[in-house]
């Protein structure tokens, strides 16, 4: 589904409508959308510095209070009011409705700044903007926008996104909250949602319910908290992001007027997926902000702490951690910013890139929190220090807004689907090869044969964009493994036919190769742009591009090999045995 970007028109349009990520599976590096690395919009550049300063001024002095909110598992009403006054609920709402109309890139950067102080603050404002009212921005009618956006911009209304249910997490299509159409065109909504961020403080819910109409199974609704029959449960006692409100939200025969249907009736699942896809940059931006803080803490700790008569910043194993955190942070930032740019440029096919940046950034910040705590060692383990809270707070990132497992499968299947679709275009008579590849083996064989020749031929798929000699070497890694990814995707389809969709171990490997390629290409493109701008840290950025490429090459080589030679079957069997036994089967006594 085409998801219009609210901040699109100011940005130059993308040169290709194709998806960079999906093209990788076909052996193509879509360099016209990757180079040059997108620059910050002039409008945002002017404001972002002032905004991040203002956020620092607002939150920097509140360290003790924020820590207390974590302990109390609640942001008090005065603090929510301060967030409203700060303007943090109007970040992405158009100026015409009283908001700040930030681009996705600027929004991700602002969330990075709030996350550098406190994750729960980011959650409260992010759940509101990224998902709570994003549907209204993307799919709302003018009347709906007029009615709600001005109050959402000031925070007079806080928004929440209600999709998840006890039986419907990753399998969101299986929701059971039901809406039935009444004679007057209104709807009656009943059911219960769980783990709703902002559930306890929201006034405005975007709710997904099963409607089972001829048009489709699921429909999205805009529901006000004050309507009869809407209620929420107590704040959940969570491991992390404790101060952010998470509750159940129940709908007991709530009457929803016809004008509060969001998007077309029956198209709710696509509405939900579009919201989540476009919301993932906010999460990635938050992860980057968290990493910046962790790197700063780690540097201070490493320089200050003396052991064996020298500061531990002199020790190789500490330096390694600090450098790796910088590589991870730069890589995540490069990918998140690129995805934000894809959305801001009015691109419509960015869901795979968004998923890749979410998977990478969420795992990178967790590695960083582990390593920063490790550098602080004993201190890191004490609650007096910030590491334990950051560790708890970041853990959610690989769970919500699509678990990283689901997203990896989504990345691989979307890529494989593209390979199948390409084949069907090749010979229309064969039809949908992805769904029935066996039927198309003949075509597949000749197709892949031709493409393999192309792919393995010299000079094919070279990045034409001019690069410095250092970065040219980096580019060669990605050129090589893009071809490997397409070969492996072909091979998987050839070997398993339609059963390729069930090969989760293989899909994970394909997804990881694709993630390394996409993130690595973003890192490369950004290093190239920084060199051209003579950025003071351009050399270090080129080093990061080299380090990332070497590390990615090892991971990609392992994954390519793993697709051919692996212990997947043995792993499957062992899992079966452990599961059958309901646990561990051995003991030393």
């Amino acid at each position: 589904m085409n998801t219009p970007s609210p901040a699109g028109p100011e940005q130059p349009a993308l040169r290709s409508d194709d998806s960079v990520a999906k093209q990788l599976f076909l052996g193509n590096i879509l360099e016209e959308n990757l180079f040059p690395y997108p620059e910050i919009r002039a409008r945002d550049r002017e404001m972002l510095g002032a905004m991040t300063d203002a956020i620092d001024q607002f939150l920097a002095g509140k360290g003790a209070e924020l820590k207390q909110y974590d302990r109390d598992a609640e942001q008090p009403a005065e603090f929510i009011q301060a967030l409203r006054e700060m303007g943090l609920f109007g970040l992405i709402i158009p100026e015409a409705f009283g908001g700040m109309e930030l681009s996705n890139g600027a929004y991700a950067r602002v969330l990075g700044q709030t996350s550098s102080h406190d994750s729960s603050v980011s959650l409260t404002i992010g759940a509101h903007s990224s998902i709570g009212m994003k549907g209204l921005l993307l799919f709302g009618t003018d009347a709906q926008k007029q009615r709600y956006l001005p109050r959402l911009a000031t925070g007079e209304m806080i928004a929440a996104f209600c999709l998840t249910e006890s039986g419907a997490g990753s399998d969101a299509a299986s929701i059971r909250t039901k809406a039935t159409r009444n004679g007057d065109g209104s709807w009656t909504l009943s059911g219960e949602k769980i783990w709703i961020t902002n559930g306890g403080i929201a006034d405005f819910y975007t709710v997904f319910a099963r409607t089972d109409t001829p048009e489709g199974k699921i429909t999205a609704f805009l529901v006000e908290a004050k309507w009869p029959g809407v209620s929420h449960g107590p704040h959940e006692d969570k491991m992390g992001i404790r101060a952010s409100s998470t509750t159940t939200v129940a709908f007991a025969d709530v009457r929803v007027p016809a004008e509060n249907v969001l998007g077309p009736v029956g198209k709710g699942f696509k509405v939900a997926m579009s919201i989540l896809n476009s919301g993932r940059t906010g999460l990635g931006g938050g992860a980057v902000g968290g990493m910046r803080t962790l790197i700063r803490l780690a540097c201070a700790q490493a320089k200050e702490r003396k052991q064996f008569g020298q500061s531990i910043a002199e020790f190789g194993l500490v330096r390694e951690k600090i450098a790796q955190m910088a590589v991870d942070c730069y890589a995540a930032e490069s990918a998140v910013w690129m995805v934000a740019h894809l959305i801001d440029s009015g691109g419509s096919d960015y869901s795979v890139e968004a998923a890749m940046s979410k998977v990478f950034a969420s795992e990178a910040v967790q590695r960083a929190s582990y390593e920063a705590l490790q550098i602080a060692a004993g201190n890191g383990f004490m609650r007096e220090f910030p590491y334990e809270q950051i560790t708890r707070d970041t853990r959610i990132l690989s769970i919500f807004e699509g678990t990283n497992e689901i997203l990896r499968l989504y990345i691989a299947l979307s890529g494989l689907k593209g390979v199948g679709a390409g084949l069907s275009e090749l010979k229309a008579a064969v039809g949908d090869i992805f769904n029935d590849p066996i039927k198309g083996f003949g075509v597949l064989g000749s197709y892949t044969g031709r493409r393999m020749r192309e792919a393995t031929g010299y000079g094919i798929d070279r990045i034409a964009h001019e690069l410095s000699p250092r970065l040219r070497k980096v580019a060669a890694t990605y050129e090589k493994y893009t071809v490997e990814l397409s070969k492996s995707s072909d091979a998987l389809l050839r070997r398993y036919g339609k059963k390729a969709a069930d090969q989760q171990h293989a899909q994970k490997r394909l997804a990881d190769i694709a993630i390394d390629l996409f993130v690595g290409l973003c890192v490369l493109s950004r290093a190239d742009s920084l060199a051209r701008q003579s950025h003071p840290a351009a050399d270090e950025a080129a080093s990061i591009a080299e380090i990332f490429a070497k590390q990615a090459r090892r991971r990609m080589a392992r994954n390519v090999r793993g697709l051919e030679r692996n212990e997947d079957e043995a792993i499957e069997q062992l899992a079966g045995a452990v599961l059958a036994h309901d646990g561990y089967m051995w003991d030393v006594i």
């Binding site: 404001m47 300063d53 001024q57 607002f58 303007g87 943090l88 700040m100």
Partner: protein, 248 residues
């Protein structure tokens, strides 16, 4: 009434200042710059006077290179109605700054000029006093409380002997002390609003002000490092330590 506020950009007070290796100045490249804290206090006071209905317009003034605009936008985001940017490539010394302000005063006819008592970079503490002398109007320096009524400013000053209260006929120059007020935070929507507020640009050369550097800086050096302290157990040990150092 119109209030003119001096709004200087300095190296942020949180930055650990580093002297350039050749001793010609301090490092400002890649260093966070922000408003002189005393100037933020001056602006805050002007905004409060406007909010009380004493003043109608608050104008922030900055003297500096082309990129000073972003800094002046912060003043507008805090609430100033408009800004004047006197474009000057080099830093100006207090007398030159005072002369620039005099030109702007003649043009703008403010009822009050509020400046920080000093800037935290050169700590000169001269511009306000010089402006009052050149303008031939009263000055109330180091203000810790300001009341405006009946064409007069009643200003409380923190002096060594305690608090001194003086009255000054308007128009006048007030310079701010640290405890005058606590400047407000800039809110994000105000940053948006500031984009459409006017910044008048005036070339320094067009003002007819002589830029005369009366002071020559010969060398910058970092302060000597403080030697490590000693921990003492009790008063007796402290007395002994002081005696040993010949301080008692």
């Amino acid at each position: 009434m119109k209030i003119l506020v001096g709004y200087k950009r300095v190296v942020d007070y949180n930055v650990r200042i580093q002297v350039k290796p050749d001793g010609t100045g301090v490092v400002t490249d890649g260093v966070k710059l922000s408003a002189n804290p005393f100037d933020d206090i001056a602006l805050e006071e002007a905004l409060r006077l406007r909010e009380k209905g004493v003043a109608e317009e608050v104008v922030v003034v900055g003297i500096g290179p082309a990129d000073l605009t972003a800094h002046l936008r912060n003043g507008l985001a805090m609430g100033a109605n408009r800004a004047i940017h006197v474009v000057a490539a080099d830093a100006v010394q207090p007398l030159t700054a005072a002369r620039v302000f005099l030109k702007l005063v003649e043009k703008e006819q403010p009822g009050l000029v509020i400046l920080g008592k000093q800037a935290i970079d050169d700590d000169a503490n001269q511009t306000g006093q010089m402006l009052a002398a050149l303008w031939d109007r009263p000055q109330a320096t180091f203000a810790s409380k300001v009341d405006i009524a009946g064409g007069k400013a009643t200003v409380t000053r923190e002096v060594d002997a305690g608090l001194e209260v003086i009255e000054a006929e308007l128009p006048a120059v007030i310079t701010t002390d640290l405890r005058l007020n606590e400047p407000r935070f800039i809110k994000l929507p105000d940053i948006m609003k500031a984009k459409s507020k006017p910044i008048d640009t005036i070339e320094f050369g067009s003002l007819g002000v002589e830029a005369h550097d009366h002071l020559k800086t010969t060398h910058y050096a970092a302060p000597a490092k403080r030697s490590k302290g000693v921990m003492v157990k009790d008063a007796a040990e402290l007395v002994a330590a002081l005696k040993q150092k010949g301080l008692l």
